[in-house]
Symmetry: C2
Subunit: 203 residues, 2 copies
Amino acid sequence: MQSPRHDSVSRLIFELSKLPGIGEKTAARLTHFILKQPEDYARALSEAILNAKQKTSLCQICLVFTDTSPCPICSSKERNSSLICVVERPTDVLAIENSGIFRGYYHVLHGTLSPLEGIGPEELKIKELLSRIKQSSGSVSEIILATNPSVEGEATALYLAKLIKPFGIKVTQLAYGLPVGGLLEYSDKQTIGRALENRMEID
Amino acid sequence: MQSPRHDSVSRLIFELSKLPGIGEKTAARLTHFILKQPEDYARALSEAILNAKQKTSLCQICLVFTDTSPCPICSSKERNSSLICVVERPTDVLAIENSGIFRGYYHVLHGTLSPLEGIGPEELKIKELLSRIKQSSGSVSEIILATNPSVEGEATALYLAKLIKPFGIKVTQLAYGLPVGGLLEYSDKQTIGRALENRMEID
């Protein structure tokens, strides 16, 4: 990445290329798109960035980014308080909400255990999860560990399961299997293996 | 795309998802990245967007976005004034400059002819190119048409060539052939065909 040059086009390319997955070429493309839009868009985007950063904080309960703490999900009385779904990132909450299936509450870990990168249990929001379970005085009956199906996600789920089970709470994990709409032919062998192991009877 | 909701996280996701190639999921990922950075980054990015939009205009000569018109390239006296390289977009200027090979001047068309999308010669900066050639009073000896190797890019190059040739100026086009570092095995048949047609003798 180049150091910021003095003209405003290069400066915007430089700032955009710090975003994840945005290389210098994509940053240049985005910059020129912004320059071609009416000034309203540049102003709206610019304000949205600053507003989001300045007005949001972590929800005191589930730790998503929110304007109001507790967040709208944690404030809702219409959800199932016996279920907590533990996810790695705030974006995972959006993904699960979009499925429309889950009506319990969430807990965001803000990462996964990763000894190689120096991320241990203290770096994650595990203490907060345990104190939430303690304070629930038995109203939580199931914790769904919805970490990603990766080595780190699995390791984190196993670590959490060991910590949670002593509370006498059921600990579950998302099912592995073929993705909906996917093709068997293009699925990797681990996925097919898991789909076979977890096969279900058709009634 | 969803309509902007009232909380600042959704609003930023909404504004970012208007960018080209950024879907709602990527926008959510970028939003959460920005939220995790120190406030300095949000402020720098926000300012860079507004600054770039407010301070830049099209260079009066080559039509790139620039803080100062004429732009640094057009202001330079050290380039070859007999060469003009015509490109579709401002980002193409960056790509060619990065190659370090070209030392002439540029002209940005801001698009390609595309009858299906209702883009005719009037929508492009063609008039500006022709008046530039007229005003050069014979100092321009070659126009390089560096449009993209697409149907629209080719059609635009052919159209421009017809307009420019009456001025008695040499009109050239970028070479077609195998990309450097590419594999023959993975190249499409048109590219291989052109590479064969344009084969060069090794001395």
